[in-house]
Symmetry: C2
Subunit: 190 residues, 2 copies
DNA sequence: GTGTAGAAAGAACGTTCGTTCTACTATGGC
DNA sequence: GCCATAGTAGAACGAACGTTCTTTCTACAC
């Protein structure tokens, strides 16, 4: 099974979250029971319920964690320096690479949304916040690079990223080339 | 709740499938139990297990039904006459309209794939077949309309349709305009 | 009429679900 | 030494899961 083993030494809470995140992403949320998480994290029920009010809180923490990771990517890319145009290219490249490397089972947020129909629930609100942040951040980056109609282009890029993640999952890696080409054309990069 | 009531008169099997399809799409598959389906379809366990070996067969039938409906759309559009180019335009328009009208909760196949990680399982095979058919049918339509590089353009269109369905679900109807514009540009329609 | 099949009704199966609980142990601060 | 905290261990809860079963009733074919 080669489960991504949360290093024995880390805290139970970290192991719990890391294990849950891995399982939720790999197998879907409703398809994974707390017993699975507990046994693979090597901890017990009491410990889990000490740190999280319930399973849904674990789901929320999983998505918040995913959100934080992606924000980290952006922060790192921004700090890495380079012209605004280079940053735009780096973002597109980063999305393509992420899809084929770390997100071969699709987008965690889209997948979660498939299982959580209630648009007012906590889970969907986290998804909503993430997507809003992503779109506006993209718009800011594009605007800095003097891309015309940054808002609209950003919306298109979000669409394309969704498609790339779904496509790599269901159709294979060839999709990432399609994404790169289309995205670069949309933002006006040769 | 205003459940889409499967007309009392239809056969138990039809009511079962219709109800299950509605519930699976609206609330996710693992999130719906057979008891729910049974009570909303107004039938009993014994009847269900006479017609379907189990829940998974019901899921499979739901996706096959969805597949058949979409193939029906294509057949109808093709029979409606018109030039190949008009057919291409009609397909794009049909997708945009479908997303905002009948598939406001996203793509049934993408949503199902989120819950079924096993690529070799029956469910994922149905999804695979559907996507392959869709892409190749699109390529044929584009080729007939003398669109250059029909295969590649078809792949792009599949991507865009995925994005449109996800986008309308999570971001709202404005996405459908983005889809129309981008899709028409990709296939070379003014 | 008799026989057969499909549907309704509902009890019951064992399993798993998420959750709560008690009891015991190890750790660290005062 | 003492208390609080956080961990382990495991029993137990009621509810829901998917599935199997028996029984009764209706309808249509022969």
């Amino acid at each position: 099974m080669a489960t991504p083993i949360p290093s024995e030494s880390s805290s139970p809470r970290d192991r719990l979250l890391e294990t849950a995140a891995g399982l939720f992403y790999a197998e879907g949320i409703k398809g994974v029971g707390v017993d699975r998480i507990l046994s693979e994290a090597g901890t017990t029920r009491a410990t889990m319920y000490r740190h999280f009010p319930g399973k849904e809180a674990l789901v929320a923490a999983y998505l918040e964690r995913e959100d934080a990771i992606i924000r980290g990517y952006f922060a790192a890319a921004a700090e890495a320096g380079g012209s605004p145009t280079e940053l735009v290219a780096a973002v597109i490249e980063g999305i393509a690479e992420d899809a084929t490397r770390y997100h071969r089972r699709g987008c965690p947020f889209i997948n979660a949304a498939a299982e959580y129909p209630d648009a007012d629930g906590e889970i969907r609100q986290i998804i909503e916040r993430h997507r809003t942040w992503f779109r506006s951040t993209l718009a800011a980056v594009l605007d800095a690079a003097s891309v015309a109609d940054a808002e609209r282009v950003a919306a298109s890029l979000v669409l394309l990223r969704d498609a790339a993640l779904v496509g790599v999952y269901l159709d294979g890696d060839t999709v990432s080339a399609d994404f790169r080409r289309t995205a670069r054309s949309v933002v006006g990069l040769g």
